[in-house]
């Protein structure tokens, strides 16, 4: 039997990473698998991807998928700036940023906020377990008020909702999902990958070692009981070129930058992810109702991205030839004359 291949003729093995060193059952591993799978299915050449991360169990995961992509495991909470630099230098790369809730919402919240404002094309995944896994289970800033640690300590501070923050600050693709929701996460990742702006995905990803107990709001069982998908997602890639029939009354269809379509079949009446105010209101309601609202909460494919604002050319700045980066002799002569 011929081996399974994608449209580039690559096999799933071409998207593999090294063996994970995370705990068995860690949500982060499932997310790595979804990333690998969606990149394979989308037919993205691994060499075109730049994986960027901070520090944490979550930030280690770029080692565990797509070894054929360059990867940069930077310092704690500062992946956004490194990603910004790398992608400005080479805008033809597909930027994949992996972070944790501590990495993003605590030490890195400043950089996160400013990344989002710039609308840099980057898929920014927060592998959100409500704790600092790598330093052994302290609460993070996404832990819900009233949730308890493994040893029974109650978290008294309100949680930062990274999706809400991202929407307010100008992210143009914001989704929340669950590491255990294969179908939803996969479609969301694909749409985020073809989106040309900052796509923030907060993926609840249980830490089996430090935050999977009763009293946690980031455990597998809590998610089973409280996940509230706002719509059913499907992704139709541009190259499939199939005419899609859908009922506009029950489905929102978003045309992505490359012509792909993100179909959102409404499970909830009237929710339109293109409406910012509605998105914010609905997320805040979900807090009051103690549900974990998942789905693509907000999307806007119209706003200019950071490359547009910088007015940089289509090819990478990094490899522009000397003729384009060193002005000719007469320019120096002209400047010297003006200073005489």
């Amino acid at each position: 039997m011929a081996e399974k291949t994608n449209r580039l003729g690559l096999t799933p093995a071409d998207y593999k990473g090294s063996k994970t060193t995370l705990c068995a059952g860690c949500g982060h591993n499932a997310i790595s698998e979804r990333i690998l799978e969606s990149m394979y299915e989308l037919g993205i050449p691994p060499e075109r991807v730049a994986k960027l991360s901070g520090i944490g169990c979550s930030s280690k995961t770029p080692a565990y998928f797509m070894s054929r992509a360059h990867s940069f495991n930077a310092v704690h909470g500062r992946m956004p700036s490194v990603a910004t630099g790398a992608l400005m230098a080479n805008r033809t790369l597909i930027g994949l940023g992996i972070s944790g809730d501590g990495d993003t919402a605590s030490i890195g919240v400043g950089q996160f906020v400013h990344l989002v404002r710039r609308n840099l094309p980057l898929v920014y995944i927060i592998e959100d377990n409500g704790v600092y896994g790598l330093t052994k289970g302290q609460f993070s800033a996404t832990a819900d008020a009233g949730s308890t640690s493994k040893s029974g300590v109650v978290n008294q501070l309100p949680a930062i909702d990274t999706c809400l923050l991202a929407i307010q600050l100008g992210a143009t693709f914001v989704g929340r999902s669950f590491s255990g929701d294969k179908k939803q996460l996969s479609a969301m990742l694909k749409a985020a990958t073809v989106h040309r702006g900052t796509a923030v995905l907060d993926v609840i990803s249980p830490c089996v070692t430090f935050n999977d107990h009763e009293g946690s709001t980031k455990s597998y069982s809590y998610m089973k009981d409280h996940e509230e998908p706002i719509h059913e997602l499907s992704f139709i890639p541009s190259y499939e070129n199939i005419a899609v029939d859908y009922d506009p009354g029950s489905t929102v269809s978003v045309k992505m930058h490359d012509g792909s379509r993100l179909q959102l079949r409404k499970l909830e009446d009237g929710y339109d992810p293109r409406n910012k105010i509605e998105a914010v209101t609905r997320i805040m309601t979900s807090h009051a109702q103690q549900e974990v609202l998942t789905g693509v909460l907000y999307v806007n494919t119209e706003l200019p991205n950071f490359y547009d604002l910088l007015a940089i050319p289509d090819e990478p700045l990094a490899t522009l030839p000397q003729e384009r980066t060193r002005p000719p002799r007469k320019v120096l002569d002209e400047v010297m004359d003006s200073l005489a």
């Binding site: 730049a50 630099g85 400013h114 990478p316 990094a318 980066t325 005489a340």
Partner: protein, 599 residues
């Protein structure tokens, strides 16, 4: 006016004392330019407060027929326009100095051993404009006219300097010329020359330019092919990137109307350096510019870039610390901490430009060095060099093509079959890298700040760790031999002097003083880079006593040298460290070295 025996020609220092925000900067530039255009070697130093308006500020201009351009300790002619400091300014003058002052300040009675020139500036300026706001500005240009008359400056050159200063505003230029004339005419009619100071046309400046170090650094970066620039505003480094923005908009737009660069004002220095490191990793020539507080913030990233081996260019335009310190005063106080910036066994490459020409040259070469060694390069400028105007020969166009270092292309990989990111193939400690996006299945590697082996895989093995750190050390040894070599002046003297950066200008004058006044011969080695060249050791080896001159309290470069030299040589080093918050002057150095030499 007769030329008495006591006339002092083209050798004087003029100080203008005003209030910050009063618009005196243009007037001071006109004075500086006039002297420059008259062919007299000149330098200007702005002593300004950390304030937008209201606090005292002093601008010092030195004219020196001998070409000395460091700050002169003594002020010969004071222009006292600031009521708040006038008395103290006058009291600090040497007998025989001259004072031009705004008449209402009534300084004439403060001392009897000075030449006083009262000028009723409000009255002088009255016929020029009746607009109160303008008058405040024009008063400054009126003192230019007064000074021009007293010193014998050519009014034609004053007019030309005003035209240059206001080149885009013809109307303002005309008004300012009238204000200067009003001052000149008043002085001619009402002031009797009582001091010895005069200027006379010379021909020492033919072909020369005047520029600040920050602008020179910006030009260097542009001609060095910079493509990514990030910054967070901080005095005294802001003007480097601000000037760069101006030049890049003008000269680095592509034919397609797109920028061949990206400049980003980051949210802080952590982000600024993070972006530079991301961009350097992806293959761009990336830089940022900052000062002490920003350098401190960059520490964690600086260690990452050293250890993960990523090129980056970071300008540190030094000001006085610790902490916020004296934000608008010059120093060389970041040398030691930056040499080891970050935790663990981190070592950084430093460059020490001492002239605006070197700011330009290093502005470009820093990228070659950073890409050659795949590590951060810190260009250690300072406020004096960066923000003050200096004369220079015009800069030369970089002749060497841009060198991108050991980067493997797709074709290289096809030929080689693969590569190991951290393997020392050439024995110089410098390994090969690939850029993200290289279209070859073996191109990728994993960049990390954690322990790694030659294949860039995570490793905690002691042998991998030691192997890697030893190689990083080897790389620095290669750098030691390849970085800009020190500049030697003089041989055979018993006394050696080491200096670097902007201290150079006071030191060359001081050496001349020591020789002329005390017959003290000295050899001088100016250091341009760290890790130190082997020539530094050889220099110390040849001199029983070596004074290390610098602008900080602790003798930071002397300390770095002591770490580098064999124990038996370290006792030869004598630290001469000054940090009064003012640019270094020759006299203070001469006094100290002469005393320590027992002369």
């Amino acid at each position: 006016m007769s030329q008495s025996a006591s006339t002092v020609i083209n050798d004087m220092s003029l100080q203008v004392a005003t209030v910050n925000g009063s618009g005196s900067q243009s007037a001071n530039m006109v004075l500086l330019r006039t002297l420059f255009q008259m062919g007299i070697p000149v330098s200007g130093k702005n002593l300004f407060p950390s304030n937008i308006a209201g606090l005292p500020t002093w601008y010092t201009i030195r004219a020196s027929k001998d070409g000395w351009i460091a700050r002169k300790k003594e002020v010969d002619l004071l222009v006292a326009m600031n009521a708040e400091t006038a008395r103290e300014d006058v009291l600090s003058l040497r007998p025989g100095s001259a004072v031009v002052f705004d008449e209402p300040l009534q300084l004439g009675s403060v001392r009897s051993d000075l030449a006083f020139y009262p000028v009723p500036f409000d009255k002088v300026i009255q016929p020029v404009s009746s607009d109160a706001k303008l008058k405040k500005l024009l008063k400054n240009m009126a003192y230019v006219g007064v000074v021009a008359h007293l010193l014998g400056m050519e009014m034609g050159e004053v007019e030309a300097a005003i035209a240059k200063q206001f080149r885009k505003k013809a109307k303002a230029a005309e008004l300012n010329v009238r204000a200067a004339m009003a001052g000149f005419d008043f002085a001619k009619a009402s002031l009797e020359k009582k001091d010895p100071f005069q200027v006379r046309r010379m021909d020492a400046n033919r072909g020369k330019i005047i520029i600040e170090g920050n602008a020179a650094g910006a030009l260097g970066a542009m001609f060095g092919g910079v493509t990514v620039v990030t910054w967070y505003p901080i005095t005294p480094s802001s003007s480097l990137v601000e000037t760069l923005i101006g030049y890049m908009r003008r000269y680095r737009m592509g034919a397609d109307g797109k920028s061949t660069y990206a400049i980003v004002q980051a949210e802080d220095e952590l982000a600024a350096v993070g972006m530079v490191i991301g961009a350097g990793w992806a293959g761009a020539r990336a830089m940022t510019s900052t000062a002490g507080p920003g350098i401190s913030l960059m520490s964690e990233f600086a260690g990452l870039a050293y250890f993960a081996e990523i090129p980056a260019v970071i300008w540190d335009v030094q000001r006085v610390g610790p902490s916020t310190g004296l934000p608008t005063r010059t120093s060389q106080g970041d040398v030691l901490s930056t040499a080891f910036l970050s935790h663990g066994d981190t070592r950084q490459i430093l460059l020490f430009p001492g002239t605006v020409e070197e700011c330009f040259r290093f502005g470009a070469e820093a990228f070659d060095i950073a890409e050659r060694f795949q590590t951060p390069v810190f260009v250690m400028s300072d406020l004096d060099l960066g923000m003050n105007y200096w004369m220079s020969e015009p800069f030369s166009y970089p002749e060497k093509p841009i060198a991108r270092g050991k980067v493997l292309s797709k074709e290289d990989l096809q030929r080689l079959g693969g590569f190991e990111r951290y393997r020392d193939v050439d024995g110089d400690g410098i390994t090969y890298r690939t850029l993200p996006g290289t279209d070859h299945p073996a191109a990728s590697y994993f960049t990390r700040g954690t322990g790694h082996n030659e294949k860039a895989q995570y490793s905690e093995r002691p042998d991998d760790w030691v192997n890697n750190l030893d190689r990083l050390e080897r790389k620095m040894e290669t750098a030691r031999r390849e970085l800009p070599a020190p500049i030697l002046d003089g041989t055979g003297a018993e006394v050696g002097i080491i200096a670097y950066g902007s201290s150079h200008h006071a030191l060359v004058e001081s050496r001349d003083q020591m020789l002329r006044e005390k017959g003290l011969k000295t050899d001088y080695l100016r250091i341009l880079a760290y890790p130190f060249s082997p020539e530094v050791r050889a220099f110390v080896d040849r001199h029983p006593r070596v004074y290390v001159v610098e602008q900080n309290r602790d003798g930071q470069l002397a300390a770095l040298l002591k770490l580098d030299l064999p124990a038996e040589l370290t006792t030869r080093l004598k630290s001469v460290a000054h940090i009064p918050g003012l640019p270094l002057d020759a006299r203070s150095l001469t006094d100290e070295i002469v005393a320590r030499e027992g002369r």
